[in-house]
Symmetry: C2
Subunit: 144 residues, 2 copies
């Protein structure tokens, strides 16, 4: 704890995931916690990787795509060809993300407009209620 190592339970609590999820990510080689006896222990780097994993998921990437990006962050394999490969796929992901960023900006503007439009329609309907027998909300702005 003081040396920055966390148990699987502490990890689950602080990242809001289940043990199953962490073991699953390990099986898919997205993370490789140290073993003390038979227990897993996660260090600072493992936590950083998990943060990236969860973020990548929010962006809609698959675990496999995320794994490839993580290779770039990983100082382990100092193999030239593999690093080049990691770089290539990372550049692809980056361009995906840049495209998505632009598109997302546009989509936000569109959705905002759509919401404003729908709100306007509702306001109009409230001003002229559609023949309902009982209407309780007092939004009748009648000023003498």
């Amino acid at each position: 704890m003081t040396d920055g190592l966390m148990t699987i339970r502490e990890m689950c609590d602080s990242f809001n995931v289940t043990p199953r999820t962490l073991r699953f990510y390990e099986d898919r080689e997205l993370i490789s916690p140290e073993r003390r006896g038979q227990h897993r222990l996660y260090n600072r780097s493992d936590r950083a990787r998990l943060t990236l994993i969860l973020r990548g998921k929010r962006f809609g990437f698959s675990l496999e795509q995320i794994r490839q990006i993580l290779e770039l962050y990983d100082p382990s394999e100092r193999n030239y060809r593999q690093t080049q490969q990691a770089l290539a796929t990372a550049r692809e992901r980056l361009s995906d993300m840049e495209r998505q960023y632009t598109e997302l900006g546009a989509a936000i503007i569109e959705l905002r407009a759509q919401i404003l439009g729908a709100e306007a329609e509702i306001d109009a309907e409230e001003a002229v209620p559609p023949a309902s027998p009982a209407q309780a909300s007092g939004m009748t702005g009648d000023s003498r």
Copy 2:
């Protein structure tokens, strides 16, 4: 064709999806093409919806979430309560997207930095090629 109606095949070709996918979206009520005989015919509005569907998928939304957003774009059901419900979920999606937009911007910057870092390392290695047959100082694992 001239009246803006497209067959399922034309849709598949222009949106790069399979017939199965279109029928599946229809089954989940994300789209409802007109029927001429037993064949499906997609109009301009159907195409607009499909564009939104595919975009939503790229953002990582589920088909169900997308369906709820689409209700807002749909001028069919003019039911007050349902419109309010659609508005509520649309606002949630919007705030998701705004959060994701910010986060994505940060992630792009991070990944760019990471790529630059890896490129720098490679340049350094290229400057001092490790292909010497004599033993290196460290443990580079592979010895041949």
